[in-house]
């Protein structure tokens, strides 16, 4: 299917004279969900996306063989992807003194970089400053959902009521029972595959057919049962049984192209915002889409102090436009949303709109990554080839720390993502020693006999971890850049130590031959799970939004993305972002009807 053609056909003209019911800024998981929910309530919605409409299927080409690509998937030589080392030894803006024509974030995988280079931003056009941070941004219709990792997990009351559990930070203004019906709606509308485990701290979804485990993964699962720990097939935001209500998406056919790109699925079995949410919203006739529209400011009605609309810059012409709406819904991603609020200064809101608390940009949190283990599973050596990367994910190992017992060194927890088996490129080609016929045979015999996993841990939300606007550095459109003031703390360092230790313990217990355990922390930002710059709360002095992601200060302003999260949990955030946005937009539509906004 040609996505761009579908979008063009469905797209009404943008009318700048009209007052829309709502403007949604951003088209990723949160913006797409806002558009879906608001248009289904009959509201006339304008969606502004800063990036372009890209024919994603032509970009990803996920079934192209490496040898059919001139550079086997690598980028042209004048383009450069930042390495881990560069993020650590230099200071942002990382592209400032690069001789390369284009500089991109690290996100592209082995040999897949040419397929995703147009999806992530060119760092040369999008500088940021301050402390080290690997900030991955995707400016295009659908945002990062075009290349997301697809792990779709629920949070539980252990997360929502974390302060009540261990005394740190703040509780969320909602409980699991408030969001559970919306998790269900997201499961059913978008599709998720997995296996029920009945874990109170990792609630089950309404699952479609699960992804099966590879042999070594199954062995680890069985071994972990003795330790009372749970390894479950990847809970993937992927429809494995199909979705009768969505004509833009196919069910997963397990082709085996999933793991050799930065992500992306050209049959759209994996959720992405354009096919999952935006195209169906356009079919209602209530959604107008404007791409290349960089929101510069949320405008304010001088009399009421309320939001009056959005001023945006056309990314191609540089011209500024203003468009009006009854409600403004910000969903530009955690960091870009904070930037937009801070940019929206007026007499009524001198620190930026919605920022009377001075908390916008603060309590910034995410997931810490780094500890990684790799092992040999000897009994898998020399086995006939299996197709193990023909699935959208492999396994997830659920949190087991600080559930009931209290760890002496750190609070909160972590989970692991991992995989085993054959992939298109034998990863052991570089680690296998020697050369010649024996080298070749060893690579061949052992290629499918490795298992590895890496941890994702909760980074505590701290007021002193924040972003603000750089006083002098601007992007190519003249918009002030973000400046980072963000460092991992002692809790994260101790948690990371424990991750490496438990990874070793679990792999030894399963009888794997451990080859290496990395204890090194990756640069801040590596998880691409940034959260919490406009947190929800009940107290307007210490939070930005109420439980419906509505600004305490400006009642017709909502921020429905990861900004609103009070704590990071250790579970991946996308499913929670969408469940919360659905809940808030239901509330928004209701309040608008009642005349309360």
């Amino acid at each position: 299917m040609n996505l761009i053609r579908l979008i063009r056909e469905a797209q009404p003209e943008v009318d700048l004279k009209k007052t829309y019911d709502a403007i949604v800024v951003g088209s990723g998981a949160a913006g797409g969900m806002a558009a879906h929910v608001l248009t289904s309530h009959g509201m006339k919605v304008l969606m502004l996306e800063a990036g372009k409409k890209l024919d994603i299927d032509k970009e990803l080409k996920s079934t192209e063989w490496p040898y059919d690509h001139k550079r086997r998937g690598e980028m042209p030589p004048d383009s450069h992807a930042l390495s881990l080392n560069e993020y650590n030894i230099r200071q942002p803006p990382y592209a400032a003194d690069s001789k390369a024509k284009h500089v991109y974030s690290y996100v592209q995988g082995w040999g897949g970089s040419d397929y995703s280079k147009n999806i992530v931003v060119d760092e040369k056009d999008h500088p940021y400053t301050g402390t080290n941070y690997a900030w991955v941004r995707a400016r295009l219709l659908g945002g990062k959902t075009n290349i997301w990792g697809r792990l779709a997990l629920r949070l539980s009351d252990l997360d929502f009521k974390a302060k009540s559990h261990d005394g740190y930070g703040e509780d969320w203004p909602i409980s699991y029972k408030d969001i559970a019906p919306y998790y269900d709606k997201v499961d059913l509308y978008l599709g998720i595959s997995g296996v029920k485990e009945n874990l109170p701290h990792l609630p089950d979804s309404i699952f479609q057919r699960p992804i099966k485990l590879a042999a070594a993964e199954y062995k680890l699962r069985q071994s972990l049962k003795k330790m009372n720990r749970v390894l479950t097939p990847y809970r993937a935001g992927v429809t494995t049984d199909g979705l009768k209500h969505n004509k833009y998406r196919s069910r997963c056919f397990g082709r085996g192209a999933c793991n050799r790109r930065a992500g992306g699925c050209d049959i759209h079995a994996a959720f992405d915002s354009p096919t999952g949410l935006i195209l169906p919203a356009m079919d209602t006739g209530n959604l107008t889409l404007r791409t290349n529209a960089i929101a510069r400011e949320v405008t304010v009605d001088k009399k009421t102090g309320k939001a009056s609309g959005v001023a945006f810059i056309d990314a191609e012409t540089g011209k500024t436009y203003e468009v009006k709406a009854k409600v403004v819904v910000v969903a530009a991603s955690t960091l870009e949303s904070a930037r937009l609020l801070l940019l929206s200064k007026s007499n009524a809101h001198p620190n930026g709109i919605g920022n009377s608390s001075n908390h916008v940009g603060h309590n910034f949190c995410e997931h810490v990554m780094g500890p990684h283990i790799n092992a040999l599973v000897k009994d898998q050596a020399g086995k006939p080839r299996t197709l193990d990367d023909g699935k959208p994910g492999s396994f997830y190992l659920a949190r087991f720390r600080n559930l009931t017992e209290r760890h002496p060194n750190f609070i909160r927890g972590y989970g692991f993502e991992g995989s085993s088996g054959n992939s298109i490129y034998p990863g052991n080609a570089s680690s296998t020693p020697g050369f010649g016929a024996s080298y070749k045979k060893n690579v061949r015999d052992y290629a499918g006999a490795f298992i590895s996993m890496g941890g994702f841990g909760e980074v505590l939300a701290r007021y002193e971890n924040f972003v603000d606007l750089d006083p002098s550095v601007k992007d190519v459109w003249g918009i002030p850049s973000l400046r980072f003031h963000y460092k991992f703390g002692d809790n994260e360092k101790k948690m990371v130590e424990d991750m490496a230790d438990t990874a070793r313990e679990m792999f030894s217990e399963a009888g794997f031959e451990i080859l290496d355990v990395s204890r090194r922390m990756l640069t801040e930002g590596w998880s691409i799970h940034e959260l919490g710059t406009s947190r929800m709360g009940t107290d307007p002095k210490t939070s930005v939004l109420n439980q419906f992601q509505q600004s305490h200060d400006v009642k017709n302003l909502f921020v429905v993305d990861g900004s609103s999260h009070v704590s990071a949990s250790c579970q991946n955030p996308t499913w929670t972002i969408m469940a919360l946005a659905w809940r808030s937009c239901d509330h928004l539509a209701d309040e608008l009807k009642k005349g309360n906004l």
Binding site: W65, A214, V443
Partner: protein, 182 residues
């Protein structure tokens, strides 16, 4: 202008490649530009190219399972990537590295690498790969680079993916393979 030596080389490779590719998945769809690339090296001299071709094939030789690096045109791919490299550093590394190989070959066996016997060639590679996990000498660093580029080019080639690794993916399946977790 056509060059006899590299023409011969190319023709040999075409024959080998044609045979192996036919076994693997049939010859259709092969990227013809790869043949064009091997006609005349883009970066290497003819002599350097012949040396690289041999070195890569010593690292990944033909065996009873599948053809090796020569048949997979590994040297051509390395040559192409070096020719367009944005930085000079990798080109210098290769040019100097190949000189070192010749120098060591003369030290060890009193003759050029391509004039030495297979046993002598293997002895040389054994020497420069002895410290593989922690390379420090220039020839050891060059071995690391040589092997890394060889593996990359080979295992992304048609022969590497289909004949050698028998990759099962990139096809639609009715059911995912693996073990049920239940």
């Amino acid at each position: 202008m056509p060059n006899e030596t590299s023409d011969d080389l190319t023709r040999r490779d075409i024959i080998k490649l044609g045979a192996s590719a036919a076994i693997a998945v049939g010859v259709s769809g092969w990227d013809a530009s790869l043949f064009a690339q091997s006609n005349t090296p883009l970066f290497f001299t003819k002599e350097e190219f012949a040396l690289v071709d041999e070195l890569t094939d010593l690292i990944i030789p033909t065996d009873d399972h599948s053809p090796g690096a020569k048949a997979a045109l590994v040297a051509s791919y390395i040559d192409f990537r070096l020719s367009e490299s944005f930085e000079d550093q990798p080109r210098t590394l290769w040019r100097e590295g190949l000189k070192l190989i010749e120098q060591i070959s003369r030290e060890m066996h009193g003759k050029a690498f391509l004039e030495s016997s297979t046993e002598q060639r293997i002895a040389l590679l054994t020497r420069i790969s002895a410290n593989e996990p922690h390379p420090s000498a220039p020839e050891e660093l060059f071995f690391k680079e040589l092997k890394s580029r060889t593996a990359r080019a080979y295992y992304t080639s048609k022969i590497g993916i289909h004949s050698e690794m028998e990759y099962k993916g990139n096809v639609s399946l009715k059911e995912f393979v693996g073990f049920d977790a239940a």
